[in-house]
Structures are given as structure tokens and as C-alpha cells.
């Protein structure tokens, strides 16, 4: 293991630890349990893999890719966290957003099954893992983009925490999708790929750490009381509004 790899490893573990410390200190783990669960898993996985590399190096590759399946499956926790924070169950947009998300997930599942069926024969690990990274990465990126666009469309403000989680993770999975495609297209890309992946992951951790340094939740969708004078003014304006709307509806 080169000095560069050690540096990346130490930096990654350091950032993950700081992130967990901040979420614990600010009590954010109660608000973002799925996100914290993912970060905790990533930290534990890194430590276990490091120990395996030192003690049983021959098992490292197998264990890395097997645990990668779990890591990729846990990406859904991040998307779910962004979704549940941005569109609370009681809000009317929840129905629209959840249905849109379901369409993306069903679409991705069908695409994955069709792709697998077209490839036919039992696939070798070196084909399955990149395919999984690309497909699920695309699913995550599309889902997150959809949520961010829906939030903008309906004027739902996102807090610093959720926005940071979504944007950081979105950038990471986007790079991951491009990276795994480039890896298969150009074998000469392999040396860069080995660097791009951990560097993009570190980038995501930096964005997350900055975004979650303090607790900054999404602003509430419902807002406070309206002053009495405004209510009176509004009542008068509303009477006029109804009469004009009636004219629009029934010319």
C-alpha cells in the first residue's frame, strides 16, 4: 500500500469520524437516522477492510466487492432521507413525489432485469459489479435529481443539511456512473479510475461535513400566523378574487 493510499484512507476515516461526531453532538442522528446509519456502515466497513488487508490480504478483494453490494444497496437510505425530509407525509406534494419516485424505481428495476436477461448466461463478477454500480448509480442520480427538481418546482426550500446530503451524494454517484463506464471502455483509464473513486468519495465527505456541521433543517412547509390586519385586508381582496375567478371560469 502506497503512501498516497494511506493518506486517502486516513483522510476518509478522519472525515467520517468528524461527520459522526458532528451529527452526534448536534443531536442530528435523531433527525437523520438513515443518513447516520449509512455513514456508520461506511466507517465500519473501511476499518474491517483495512484489518483484513493487513491480516488476510487474499480475502480483501472478495470481501471488498461483497460488501460493496451492501454499500450500494444502502445508497437508497440516503435518497430516502432526502425524500422524507423534503416531502413530509402530511404534505400534498408527498403523493406526487412518492409516485414519481416509484416510477423511477420500477423503471430502473425493469431496465436492470432486461439488461441482465439480454446478457444471458451467468455473469462473471467482473461484469456484475460494474453493472450494478452503473445501474444503481443511475437510479440514485435520477431519483435525487427528480427530488431536487420537484422541490424547486413547488418552491420547497431545502435546509443546508438536506441540500448538502443530496448534492454531495448526487455528485458522487454521478462520477461513479461515469467512472465505471469509462473503466470498461478504456482499460488505459484504470490507473485514473483507482484515484477518481476515492477522491470523489472524499469530496462527498467534505461536502457532507460542511453541510452537517450545524443543524439546519428544511424550513417548515406551513408557516406562521398572519397578522389580524392582513386577514381583514385579505378577506376584502378574496371577495374580489372570487368574483373575478368566476368570470374566468364561466365567461
Amino acid at each position: 500500500m502506497s503512501a498516497l493510499w494511506y493518506s486517502l484512507l486516513v483522510l476518509g476515516v478522519g472525515l467520517e469520524t468528524v461527520l459522526l461526531w458532528r451529527t452526534h453532538k448536534g443531536g442530528m442522528w435523531r433527525h437523520y437516522p438513515f443518513f447516520v446509519a449509512y455513514v456508520l456502515f461506511v466507517l465500519l466497513r473501511t476499518l474491517v477492510l483495512f484489518a483484513v488487508m493487513q491480516l488476510r490480504a487474499e480475502l480483501y478483494s472478495v470481501l471488498y466487492w461483497r460488501s460493496e453490494i451492501l454499500a450500494v444497496a444502502l445508497w437508497f437510505l440516503i435518497t430516502w432521507e432526502v425524500f422524507r425530509q423534503s416531502f413530509p407525509k402530511w404534505s400534498a406534494i408527498y403523493r406526487v413525489a412518492s409516485n414519481a419516485l416509484l416510477v423511477v424505481l420500477y423503471g430502473s428495476a425493469i431496465t436492470l432485469v432486461v439488461t441482465g436477461a439480454r446478457l444471458g448466461r451467468p455473469l462473471a463478477d467482473r461484469v456484475v459489479y460494474p453493472l450494478m454500480e452503473r445501474s444503481l448509480g443511475c437510479t440514485q442520480a435520477i431519483s435525487l435529481l427528480l427530488l431536487l427538481i420537484l422541490a424547486r418546482y413547488y418552491g420547497v426550500s431545502m435546509g443546508r443539511n438536506v441540500r448538502g446530503i443530496a448534492v454531495g451524494f448526487g455528485m458522487f454517484v454521478s462520477i461513479s456512473v461515469a467512472n465505471f463506464s469509462a473503466l470498461e471502455l478504456l482499460t488505459s483509464f484504470v490507473p485514473y479510475w483507482r484515484l477518481v473513486r476515492p477522491l470523489s468519495f472524499l469530496g462527498m465527505l467534505v461536502i457532507w461535513t460542511c453541510a452537517l456541521w450545524t443543524y439546519a433543517p428544511n424550513p417548515s412547509l406551513s408557516s406562521g400566523e398572519i397578522p389580524g390586519s392582513h386577514m381583514k385586508q385579505w378577506g376584502e381582496a378574496w371577495s374580489r378574487t372570487l368574483s373575478v375567478l368566476r368570470k374566468v371560469i364561466e365567461p
Binding site: S91, A92, I93, R95, V96, N99, A100, V103, T115, R134, G137, C138, A141, I142, L144, L145, L148, I149, R152, Y153, Y154, G155, V156, S157, M158, R163, V167, G170, M171, V173, S174, I175, S176, V177, A178, N179, S181, A182, E184, L185, P219, S222, S223, G224, I226, P227, H230, M231, Q233, W234, E236, A237, W238, R240, T241, V244, L245, V248, I249, P251
Partner: protein
């Protein structure tokens, strides 16, 4: 191979989209103190309120003027003026559509229950109407105001359909939700000023 190239391009596009969203900031929310006049703006659909579409697009006057050689210049000015008015009206219709579309989104954000396909349908319709109006404006500039009479009447019909769908939503708004809705609408407009 094609799949790999596609997913490479997709990955890059996704990254750029996230970058844009990260740099775009989030929607501004103004404070609660908002003038009530904004509600009047909300329902002031100037394009729809204009009733004399037929007169505006009538070709007869222009033809009469043009038929007399001594009034050719008057006919030319008449046509130019009419084109300006038509363009102004088309722009107002576009503003009406945007206002109605924005108002619908506010209604949904304020608790009116809608379905996904209903929303997709409205978004697609509103986008098409805006594109159509843009096309009409270009046509009015290029070919003059009188050749697009039929098309403009169709545009008016489409805008009215958008308005009706929005009005249908209003009926589903829970009682007592109007004060909050008015304030949010006002905030939204104020933040765009």
C-alpha cells in the same frame, strides 16, 4: 458498447446537473409582511380579460384601406400598429399562463391533493402553450398579425383550458386554507420582484 458510452455521457450530465443545482441556491422566501395588492395581481389575467380578439384580428379594415391607392401608407401604419397590439396581447396571454401555472403549484404546496399524472399533464400542457405562444409571436413578427387569426383563437382556447383546470383545483382546497394560500402566493411573487 453503446450502453457504456451512454452511461458515461449520462454520468457526466448528472454531475453537471447536480453542480448547477448546487450553485443555483434555493428558492427565496420573503417575509410575511406582504401587500395584499399581490392577490389582485394573482387574478388579474390581462390577456384573458381582453374580449375583442375578433376585432383585433379582423382583416376587413386593413383590406379596405389597402384597396385604395391613396390610403396605402395609412394601411401600412395600421398593420404595424395592429401587429404591436397583437404582440402585446400574446405576451399578456403568456404571462397569464405562467401566473396560472405558478398559482397551481402554490395550491398543491398549500395542501390541495393532486395526482402525479395530473401534474405531469398540466406541466406539459403549460409548456406547450408557452411554446405555442412564442411561435405565434414569431409568426406575427414575420408574417403579420392578420394571418394568424385562427391560430390565435386556438391559443386562447388552450389558455382557457389551463385556467379551468386551475379553477377546478380551487374547489378542492380545504376550507380555511385561503388566508395561508394568499400569503404564500404573495410571498412567492414578492421574492421574484
Amino acid at each position: 458498447m453503446i450502453g457504456l458510452v451512454l452511461s458515461l455521457i449520462l454520468g457526466i450530465l448528472f454531475f453537471l446537473a447536480f453542480l448547477v443545482l448546487a450553485l443555483a441556491g434555493h428558492p427565496k422566501v420573503a417575509d410575511a409582511a406582504v401587500p395584499v395588492r399581490i392577490v389582485q395581481e394573482m387574478i388579474d389575467l390581462r390577456g384573458l380579460a381582453f374580449a375583442n380578439t375578433e376585432v383585433l384580428l379582423r382583416f376587413d379594415d386593413y383590406r379596405k384601406l389597402r384597396s385604395r391607392p391613396d390610403l396605402r401608407e395609412v394601411a401600412r401604419r395600421f398593420r404595424a400598429d395592429r401587429r404591436e397590439i397583437v404582440l402585446l396581447w400574446l405576451r399578456s396571454l403568456g404571462e397569464d399562463v405562467k401566473k396560472l401555472w405558478r398559482f397551481r403549484r402554490l395550491l398543491v404546496r398549500s395542501g390541495v391533493s393532486v395526482g402525479l399524472w395530473e401534474e405531469v399533464h398540466i406541466a406539459v400542457t403549460a409548456s406547450l402553450v408557452l411554446l405555442f405562444l412564442l411561435g405565434l409571436r414569431m409568426l406575427a413578427v414575420g408574417a403579420g398579425p392578420f394571418v394568424i387569426g385562427g391560430l390565435i383563437r386556438a391559443a386562447r382556447h388552450l389558455v382557457e383550458r389551463t385556467s379551468h383546470s386551475c379553477a377546478a383545483l380551487l374547489k378542492r382546497l380545504p376550507p380555511g386554507a385561503w388566508p395561508e394560500l394568499e400569503r404564500k402566493w404573495a410571498n412567492g411573487l414578492a421574492s421574484e420582484d
